[in-house]
Symmetry: C2
Subunit: 417 residues, 2 copies
């Protein structure tokens, strides 16, 4: 039996960041960027108008004052997406829409609201009653992003704004860190499917559902191999299926069958298949019989079958692996200090993870157990949002004491949403 | 032109929570539960053993002391999932695995580690050297959840633990609030597709990508109607397509074509189709030409086509709508007070949303603009995580001043991940 910190360390030491894959920019939300993105073009790609108005030579407007307007001849009109072939000369203007390329000869744009348009014969003119500064209302080529500059650093978690700027630069595909494929197998002759009627001695397979949705919570890709009876042959077959599955799985989670019971075959089968066992049993509660090893480069977790043990083992040990594999180590559960509002005691020397409810309270956190702590109980997880860490050597945590709490869910004024 | 608060209010007043739909429990992660969940069964469904060991009559062990063991006859063995047909009588025991139903006559379980098994003839016996308490190592029917009790309240955002307990109760389908279907149409003759070579005067359609991924960020369902030239007929056709699309869209976002330019046809076309215009133009920057109305019960947003204006309009006005429609109003962007570390000024009387980078710093937040603030610029969004709110009536925010900041992205020690 090893201690919690050690187990954590061994698991993360054996976890590698996964390889890169190419993905459509449009589908890359929440992936981790696996390369530095340098700008292949300037943004904007050309000088253009920031407003709807008239492109002019600013010098021509110098004569404008309170008593004097200036009249310019309109020689062309340029819509966004088009380019004027004309060059603005002395006392000329070109009508221009927002985003359209600035015509040659122009060095400023007067906004539409500040001109009066009129016709004289077949010619169009504008009357202007305001001066403007040189380069006013003009966006310069490369003013947002210079061609060749670093736009997004490798390792960034891709948000909508990264996708927007990639698109703006015409980048259709990018390299991201792949997400892990994760196999799930539940063992236990007591398990039945949700569409069956509950018969005596049986329970519904909730662990399969818990593991499946926990994997999704951390952006892993779940492959559910269902559940099997506590039967050596059946377990062996299913494990073979999972280990040889295409796509190749990176992590394999087996729930149940890892304790000391007569029907706990999982460890024996895995060892026979060549498992390099890293540890079995951790001084924690719930989840003591946790097993971890490596087989064909696949990280193997044997998690105890009690629902709360499966759940907290996942949050403590497997979630950090999934995050690290994707390059999201920084998204580890935050550990905060919180004031305990009810005392708790224990007798053994293991670290306990007490399912709790933690709330922000005027600038500090308060926390309290959220219900029954038996390894079989799920309700306290449903009523909670965090794990209160009850250290190994401590037997009593007093009311008012500051304790470390692992926040496994989002807090919003402490409310479970 | 209306002010920001008013625009926000009008939009949310016109937003309804969507109807319910039935969904597989396994696919319900992050949906909002649309019903109270009462337990259809007890959890656990029957008294069972919490450990691998022997079910006994506790009274039989009363004679155990330092010098005296007790020997019991083993009359059966019960694996999890099976039920023993025998009843434990005086000086008898039944071997039992974790999770197996407690046999009749038993009122305690001695763990495997505390017994010695031996055979005498064809009969099996155990020798026990510890006393146990009545009901020790037994989990009672209904001790986690009582049949008929409220397990998950309506309105809860479904996490893995909710999915686990629903599965444990055999609930295969639940009612959740539907997610909105959201149509996107980008307008602008300057737009080209990412797989095309950039020609003079053209830009890549980044807004389509931004809107698509922003919708996913808030769990909406995007329907991308691509982009069209600034041509009345083309725009009209695409709008018709979107408004009559199956599945029916709940929100329709048109980017570009809502300002005062000669080719800004969107408002005119929508009004002809019967748009109930709620407002056009808001005293904000970026994003002044924002248009909002209702047509055939579809919420219509005309967002200005400048990339930063499209983006901030979405975060400010459309994200709250998507959240409210799904029953996730509580997930609104947090508004925090932060200390400004660089002064900023403006000249107009509009509310400015300054793209900024905000970090936690020893218990308070610090914030600063993250780059150029032109409506066309995207890089400051990529380098930022928040919008600094520069109030309408204020012209200067001094260094060190406390300002309100809207956090649009996750903070992890202020780092952009």
């Amino acid at each position: 039996m090893i201690d919690f910190k050690n187990a954590e360390k061994i698991i993360l030491e054996n976890t590698k960041v996964l390889n890169l894959m190419s993905i459509k920019t449009k589908s890359s939300l929440n992936y981790v960027l696996g390369e530095n993105i340098y700008a292949p073009i300037d943004l904007p790609p050309f000088n253009n108008s920031a407003m709807d108005g008239y492109a002019v030579k600013v010098r021509d407007l110098e004569k404008v004052d309170a008593s004097k307007n200036v009249v310019l001849e309109v020689i062309d009109e340029v819509q966004a997406g088009n380019v004027s072939k004309k060059t603005i000369k002395y006392m000329q203007a070109i009508k221009i829409m927002t985003g359209a390329k600035l015509p040659k000869g122009a060095d400023g744009v007067v906004i539409l609201e500040n001109v009066k348009e009129f016709m004289k014969g077949k010619k169009k003119y504008i009357q202007i009653n305001t001066k403007i500064n040189k380069w006013q209302n003009i966006r310069f080529k490369g003013e947002d992003v210079k061609k060749g500059s670093l736009v997004i650093p490798c390792g960034r978690i891709i948000r909508p704004q990264e996708i927007a700027i990639l698109a703006a630069m015409g980048i259709e595909n990018i390299n991201v860190i792949r997400r892990p494929n994760i196999g799930i197998l539940c063992t236990g002759s007591e398990l039945i499917d949700l569409n069956k009627k509950l018969s005596d001695g049986k329970i519904y397979n909730s662990n399969g559902y818990a593991l499946y949705s926990l994997i999704l919570k951390y952006n892993g890709i779940p492959f559910d191999f269902g559940f099997v009876n506590d039967n050596k042959n059946e377990i062996h077959k299913k494990i073979n299926l999972a280990l040889n599955f295409k796509p190749r799985i990176d992590i394999f989670i087996v729930s149940g069958g890892v304790s000391v019971g007569d029907y706990d075959f999982v460890k024996e089968i895995l060892l026979k298949k060549g498992l390099k066992l890293k540890f079995h049993k951790v001084a924690i509660k719930p989840g003591k019989p946790l097993l971890f090893g490596i087989l064909n480069d696949i990280l193997i977790f044997g998690v105890p079958g009690n629902p709360a043990a499966t759940f907290t083992s996942f949050e403590n040990f497997i979630a950090p692996v999934i995050l690290k594999m994707q390059g999201k180590e920084k998204l580890h559960h935050p550990l905060v200090k919180a004031k305990l509002i009810h005392p708790i005691t224990k007798r053994d020397g293991r670290v306990h993870f007490i399912r709790g409810i933690t709330k922000a309270n005027n600038g500090y956190f308060i926390t309290t157990p959220s219900g029954g702590q038996s390894s079989g109980m799920l309700k306290s997880l449903v009523d909670g949002n965090s794990l209160i860490i009850f250290p190994a050597e401590t037997k009593k945590l007093k009311k008012g004491e500051r304790v470390f709490v692992k926040l496994i869910d989002k807090l919003k004024n402490g409310e479970i949403l």
